[in-house]
Symmetry: C2
Subunit: 369 residues, 2 copies
């Protein structure tokens, strides 16, 4: 079934993998040592239009939770992020960059505040648990740090609210963006947030209890048929058009949050302290040397960007492409790129060096597209 990806225990299946396979998954990626479905029976373009018009069910179990509890939980998390989390309320989700001493990005999780001393970090692809544990051990903090048996299932698209209201009751409509509430399912209370890795609206159910996974999938799937539900996954076209960044693609430890457009989440006025503060204050004072920009380019449908494609102006390398795909809406290729200062003007002409394709001409634009 999955010819190109070698399977073993190390690449963890999820509570939904059996269902995902039954639904005809054609490929996976690996995130946080776990399978993430990447393609079903439709093309990425068909999938894109479906996501924008209907509703999809996504196995995003790989968004693992790092559960941090105890008297020092808030202190530890604040130490890990430049964002001021002291005003985060119980029931709130907060996107928080996590930084290294030099300001480099370790991860960009969503923080969920379950109680005053109980948090989840819903992480992108790096072992934040080990970073948190290391800091905690080194500082002698009074916290527990574990990966709970929680596997998010996303329901995304414009019909997601109607579908989930039908299944779990009208109260889900009252959940505001980046807030969470609770639903009853199979005799358990389960956390549900209005969030997800698309710009089409929707929810994520943080299912606690792997044994309930197939029942939850089946319930949503069956009820979803009248809403034209399909199995899906984060859609590369929709993600790039929407300017949704991806850890490991648009950012790594080589990047600071300021250059990837996360300056608004960095409190650098000295009122909070965190790992990398001095470095980020200096970067902010000097001004970033490069930043994430969009690029439009047209040379037929582009291939997958699995190496950073050089971006040039004349003979000078001025940046690189991190993610790119053909956009059926714009009828051209859309790309996210890291571009040097002096070349940020919208309309700047650049040339892209695409493997096996030679040079294409492109144009700098703002993101989201």
């Amino acid at each position: 079934m999955s010819d190109g990806l070698n399977m073993s225990l190390r690449i963890r299946r999820t509570p939904y993998t059996n269902r995902v396979e039954k639904a005809g998954v054609r490929g996976f990626s690996v995130v946080n040592h776990m399978l993430l479905p990447k393609a079903f029976q439709t093309t990425v373009e068909e999938d894109y239009w479906h996501l924008k018009n209907h509703v999809q069910i996504w196995d995003v179990s790989c968004q693992r939770q790092v559960e941090i509890r105890g008297p020092d939980a808030l202190r530890l998390i604040q130490w890990m992020t430049p964002r001021d989390i002291c005003r985060c309320e119980i029931g709130q989700c907060m996107y928080i960059p996590i930084t290294d001493v030099d300001g480099g990005l370790i991860n960009d999780p969503v923080l969920l505040k379950l109680s005053e001393d109980h948090f989840w970090l819903s992480i992108a692809d790096s072992d934040v648990l080990l970073y948190a544990k290391g800091i905690s051990i080194g500082m002698g903090l009074d916290v527990s740090i574990e990966e709970p048996d929680v596997s998010p299932l996303a329901v995304q698209g414009p019909k997601a609210e109607d579908l989930l209201a039908k299944i779990f009751g009208e109260d889900v409509r009252d959940i505001k963006f980046f807030k969470f509430g609770w639903i009853d399912f199979a005799g358990t209370k389960q956390l549900i947030s209005r969030s997800g890795y698309s710009r089409q609206g929707g929810f994520e159910i943080y299912l606690k209890g792997s044994h309930l996974g197939e029942a939850l999938w089946d319930l949503i799937w069956e009820s979803g048929k009248s809403f034209n539900i399909l199995p899906g996954c984060p859609n590369l076209i929709e993600r790039i058009e929407g300017g949704l960044l991806s850890y490991g693609n648009e950012m790594t430890r080589e990047n600071n949050p300021l250059e990837i457009g996360l300056g608004k989440f960095c409190k650098l006025d000295g009122t909070i302290d965190f790992i990398g503060r001095n470095s980020l204050q200096k970067i902010a004072a000097d001004g970033v040397k490069r930043k994430i920009m969009g690029i439009l380019f047209d040379e037929g449908r582009c291939t997958t960007c699995s190496n950073p494609w050089p971006v040039k102006v004349g003979d000078q390398k001025v940046g690189y492409i991190t993610s790119a795909i053909w956009s059926p809406r714009f009828e051209t290729n859309v790309a996210l790129s890291m571009i040097d200062r002096n070349f940020w003007d919208v309309g700047q002409t650049v040339s892209l060096q695409i493997p096996e394709r030679g040079f294409s001409s492109g144009e700098i634009v703002e993101i989201p597209f």
Copy 2:
């Protein structure tokens, strides 16, 4: 080419990936956010016999290095491992479990001592760099912790020594097991160790400088033709038969080093201190409750173990299989398993519950097989 694995920048290519593709790779795994080839043109059995009789070239760049340098480097690493590293000499490799506060395994890297204050940890599949950074930040240590541009290329099999002596000179023959030396390549000095993830002998070249990757591959490939060289990768049959454990398969943070047979690498007499010492002392005093054992079972060629297969005695679950495959040498299936105390006797009959196959009868054996 790689239909089942979705590609992106996040899943990093290696300095050898172009060559691996040219050599006809049929599939990859992902380790440390990087591609690991898993199959070429031969079957896993053909590959097994070839590895045992000839020589292979393996792209094991995913064995990333965590470089720890500075006055506190030795102190930090000793704090991370139960193994006494004070007698590790410059030029030596040492297999060191890395533990959590509760004794759970974070990783099982090979330590390379480059100088008194300069080490590499050649890691299995978890972000040891983040653990080390966290501890260092928390303790305020004087070390730098980075991932250098080092990409190991393994040359494995009984003809590896002859091949490398032909290319790099007779001195490579003098490198003892788990020691390293230096070779000249393209005007650079490169580290070479007698080591590798097989029991067939061989070397690993820790190539520094990605730009040299294809030239190194080509040199070994061309010179290797007269030795019947083939492209390869860690072979599951050979690994299981040889009792080589794999982080993420045979061990996770749920396992302590004592139960997976690494007790000899744990110095618990109180002469060194490390994270998890108290927990491991208690586990050692109580005796482990389960440990890694081999199992032989015969019911035709088994499928891939991508879920822990339950192991039973009568109606009682007494353990689970972590890795299994058909062994052409033993003409039966061989498996690694975690088995509860009281069921460790060689010859113990067990029954295995294999998905879609029902029950098979098996027999407990020692490892290596």
